[in-house]
Amino acid sequence: MYNFTYHRASGLRQATNLLGKLDEAKLLAGGQTLLPTMKQRLAAPANLVDLNKVEGLSGIELQGRALVIGAMTRHAEVASSPVVQQAIPALAHLAGLIGDPAVRHMGTLGGSVANNDPNADYPAACLALAATIITTKRKLIADEFFTGLFETALMPDEIVVKVSFPLPKKAAYEKFRNPASRYALVGVFVAKRPSEIRVAVTGAGTSGVFRVPAFEEALKKRFSPKALDGLGVPADGMSSDIHGGAEYRAHLVGVMAKRAVAAAME
């Protein structure tokens, strides 16, 4: 790890100011990606602005027809929250599948969505549930928030404050784990919303999390695994590595989507 200057922010305004003012500043949330990367000297931010002591950034609350989760809420809190388990059980299930227990007790929702790792779980949930990402500057719908591999619409001095998940009628997440990293080799989140069906895929795409319109249309006609018979995604556009080729990932998208639909119907 290279030397860096550590700043403990006491409030969002101060954190924002530090981010704007300091050179090469990075936010520290759970640190489950950033710190290992820094230890391997693959990242070298000159300044770290720690959000862990900022009040009011973590918590889970049902607000009308939406579940609102603070950016600094740990995965383990989401996984074990009776409120989440009641409102969107698929989301609690997803959080419980992230990494390992150590990661889940440190890693945060905000950190995960802001990092937008193409193999991370939360982006699929945000996209499928049509979540709104609330930042220090504005509200962004998930479709606009995730813009590519490790890229989001966040501006350099913008901080994720919370994420609002509208309650679906039914939802499920099916994840096929990379056996080494425990990230998603393919993860499919299916949500039946009052007005639409959404199918979001993580882990598979070369451009990060994506929706599958063909699956969504078929499921809108009939919300059943059988509706997806004969449908698939092209291998072109799927990522390929030592853990699985593009063709396999494309195949898994179909399998996981059907299983997610079946799970959502239970």
């Binding site: 000297r41 018979d229 030592i242 699985g244 080729g245 399998v255």
Partner: protein, 788 residues
């Protein structure tokens, strides 16, 4: 059996300190004035080093020295060596290329050290290393053992044309050819035994310290055999005379073979400590370990098994290319030869065997022994051939095995080994009963209803442990003898210290060795301590690997105990004024036969030291005896593992739903520790079969170079394991021990792949059987099964 004697499931004495954080591993040791070293490693798999500019690195804060291969050569520090000579078929000796501890002129794998920085802190050393300017002329690399001998392949070492280290063979080619010519059936298989990264829980570490007053060196090192490390570093590397070098292996957290070898880092730490005049510490980082620790396996094999009438095996032949990596590691040459081809008879009465092995260089991390070392590779060849043959012959794999099992002992195989004892059918029968093989058909039907494919696979393995006798291994090329030493020191109060040349790095010797002493001397186990891992305390020893510490190390203790008992009887005879021949020693009491006279162990021990009851002319005072034990043969643990799997044909993922292991380890000292060894071995074997794989790209970059990409087995990958034993005591050593440390890793891969191929009904599947690999195999064999 006493509560702490042989056969008792005594809780491990060493665990208290381990689980309370009081273990003393190398990294826990800090020496006064200690400095830190960082190894700058070649990013290229094959490159000429045209220049190294260390000037700006030397000016960095905290830097004490920046050293290169040229400095090492300038100080006449010798190369690392491979200590087992193998001759090719044509009689020429193996082509051992120079292996300097720091690359000089050329880097031969990605990870080859090219320079080191010694600094006040590790961070400073790393910072300075980034300022070292190395000019490389990148050369084409070769990583595939099957391609490295091709004309036009990059030439790695001048001494080894076509990157070929040796072309060795074993067995009778003519007899094998004749058997194949008249065979009724021949089963053929192409096998890749996948390359593995050992990943012991504790990374390697070393502290070198030079005392300019005495000119003595001390090395604290994560090693499985401190005396061999001292011998090699003294006699071959030439760091210091043997008596001026002390090697200490403190608590060591796992080795699996990877800590047997003498590596560049410990040599450099010693050398650098003299250069900077202060202790130098190196602790391998986890990602660095993927490049710094010798890898395991990496064989490419074509094998054939010939059958006569009625499924009787008549001959086996195999051609193996063994990848030894960029340099020959300490024992690398012995693994694909005398620890591999000699086991190709398996548990079977095979009249003729012929095996050819080409060992080759590639631009990859050196390859050496890893848990099982050659024997897992042999077992995989034999047990896959047998299972596939049974399917081809439409025979029950159990019946085919039973028909061919060795049934009378001793049994001379065509490949050197002389099996001393065993009952292979007994282990198989017991395993089948426990695994409920009879109920498998019903379980398979039930699984099919759920859309799952269920399979059952066997592995009836044999291994050669103990690695001995010295004369025999010497005739096969070993540079060392493979006996073991022990010294039993009885204190005046009767407590006992046992000094052993074995080394415990997870095996639990502090418990099992103490159980032996407790039983033999009739003293509480708490009154026994085991001392190992320090060349200043233990005179010499060969260390721990190859499941040898029970069979060989404990036998040495038995020998020393016998001498102690004999001496103690003499003391007791003076103490009780009786003839020595009338003294009986039992359960910690000396009695005079036919009388009510007795003396306790502690009284006799005390009298041995106070020496009031005998004169110096009658008897030497003291009670301390040493012994060296050289066995008469290898030992031959064997058994039967049965794996049951369920495959999800839609994803290709495999779930191991049942595992039964019935092993014959001979006499068992501590069944709890043995069970743990079997558990760990199976986990590693399952890891190899299902997920572990060191993958290189064509340029020689290790793609699976961290736990993000290298899959280790986890608890969830294993079902509850059903472990049992049969016992045929080994006739070759006083305790009847065979050894248990590697059995699981040897047996498991074939059991898993036999089960998966049974489920998916195609043999076209390589290890690791990852989900995409199984999915592709299913799809290629039966497209309908894999479709959604």
């Amino acid at each position: 059996m006493s509560a702490t004697g042989i056969g008792a499931a005594v809780r491990r004495k060493e665990d208290y300190r381990f689980i309370t954080g009081k273990g003393q591993y190398t990294d826990d040791i800090s020496r006064p004035g200690q400095t830190h070293i960082h190894f700058l490693r070649s990013p290229h798999a094959h490159a000429k080093i045209t220049s190294i500019d260390t000037a700006s690195a030397k000016t960095m804060p905290g830097v004490l020295a920046v050293l290169t291969g040229a400095d090492l050569a300038g100080d006449k520090i010798g190369n690392l060596i491979c200590g087992w000579m193998i001759h090719s078929k044509d009689g020429t000796p193996m082509k051992m290329a120079p292996h300097p501890a720091i690359a000089h002129g050329k880097a031969c794998y990605a990870g080859d050290p090219v320079a080191v920085v010694i600094a006040e802190t590790l961070g400073q050393a790393r910072d300075a290393a980034e300022k070292i300017e190395v000019d490389y002329e990148v050369l084409p690399a070769v990583v595939d053992p099957a391609k490295t001998q091709e004309a036009g392949a990059p030439q790695i070492h001048e001494v080894a044309p076509q990157n070929t280290i040796f072309q060795w063979h074993l067995g009778e080619a003519a007899a094998v050819d004749a058997a194949f010519a008249s065979a009724k059936h021949v089963t053929k298989l192409d096998i890749v035994n996948n390359r593995l990264v050992p990943n012991a829980m504790e990374p390697r570490a070393a502290i070198g310290e030079y005392d300019s007053g005495t000119q003595n060196f001390t090395l604290w090192n994560t090693t499985q055999n401190p005396h061999v490390a001292r011998l090699v570093i003294a006699a071959f590397v030439g760091m210091a005379p043997e008596h001026k070098l002390r090697v200490i292996a403190p608590d060591v957290g796992g080795g699996f073979g990877s800590k047997i070898f003498i590596y560049p880092e410990e040599v450099v730490c010693l050398w650098a400590s003299k250069k900077v005049g202060r202790p130098v510490k190196w602790v391998c980082e986890r990602a660095e370990a993927f490049l710094a620790d010798a890898h395991g396996r990496d064989h490419v094999t074509h094998a054939e098994l010939a059958f006569g009438e009625g499924g009787k095996m008549t001959a086996l032949r195999a051609k193996t290319i063994a990848n030894l990596g960029a340099y020959m590691s300490t024992f690398s040459s012995s693994i694909p030869t005398y620890l591999y081809a000699t086991l190709l008879s398996g548990q079977y009465d095979l009249p003729a065997i012929y095996c050819e092995v080409d060992a080759v260089y590639t631009n990859t991390v050196p390859v050496d022994a890893y848990r099982g070392a050659g024997r897992p590779e042999a077992t995989f060849v034999v047990e896959r051939l047998v299972e596939v043959a049974a399917r081809e012959l439409h025979m029950d794999p159990v019946e085919l095995r039973r028909k061919n099992f060795v049934k009378s002992f001793p049994h001379q195989t065509p490949v050197i080994m002389n099996y001393d004892v065993g009952d292979y059918d007994a282990s198989m029968r017991k395993a089948m009963e426990i695994a409920d093989v009879n109920g498998f058909a019903a379980r398979r039907r039930e699984a099919e209803k759920r859309g799952k494919l269920r399979g059952l696979g066997y592995s009836t393995y044999i291994e050669a442990c103990g690695i001995a006798p010295s004369q025999a291994v010497g005739s096969l090329g070993a540079g060392v003898g493979l006996w073991e030493s022990a010294e039993v020191r009885v204190n005046p109060t009767g407590s006992v210290e046992v000094l052993t040349g074995s080394h415990s790095h997870g095996q639990g010797h502090e418990t099992t060795f103490a159980q032996l002493v407790s039983e033999r001397l009739g003293i509480p186990i708490e009154n026994v301590s085991i001392v190992h891992g320090d060349t200043d305390k233990v005179q010499f020893g060969m260390g721990t690997y190859g499941s040898r510490s029970g069979a060989v190390g404990m036998s040495a203790i038995v020998k020393a105990l016998e001498k102690v008992e004999a001496k103690a009887k003499k003391v007791a005879s003076h103490l009780m004024e009786a003839a020595e021949s009338d003294i009986v020693f039992k359960d910690g009491q000396f009695t005079v036969a036919g009388t009510d006279k007795s003396a306790a162990w502690a009284d006799v021990a005390l009298h041995a030291y106070i020496a009031h009851k005998f004169t110096g002319a009658q008897l030497e005072p003291g009670l301390k005896e040493g012994a060296f034990y050289d066995p008469t043969n290898f030992t031959f643990p064997a058994g039967c593992h049965i794996c049951e799997v369920e495959i999800d044909p839609e994803t290709g993922s495999t779930t191991i739903v049942g595992w039964t292991a019935v092993d014959d380890f001979g006499t068992i000292i501590n069944p709890m520790i043995v069970e743990g060894q079997v558990h760990g071995g199976i986990a590693q074997g399952v890891g190899q079969a299902l997920m572990e794989n060191a993958v290189y790209d064509k340029d020689g970059q290790l793609m699976s170079g961290s736990f993000m990409d290298y899959s280790m087995p986890r608890a969830e990958n294993l079902p509850p394991l059903k472990i049992d034993t049969t016992v045929t005591p080994c006739p070759g050593n006083p305790l009847g021990i065979k050894g248990c440390g590697e059995a699981g890793a040897i047996a498991a891969p074939a059991a898993v792949i036999n089960a998966i191929t049974d489920a998916i009904r195609t043999e076209n599947l390589a290890m690791p059987a990852t989900a995409p690999a199984v999915w592709a195999a299913v799809r290629a064999a039966a497209p309908a099964l894999a479709a959604e």
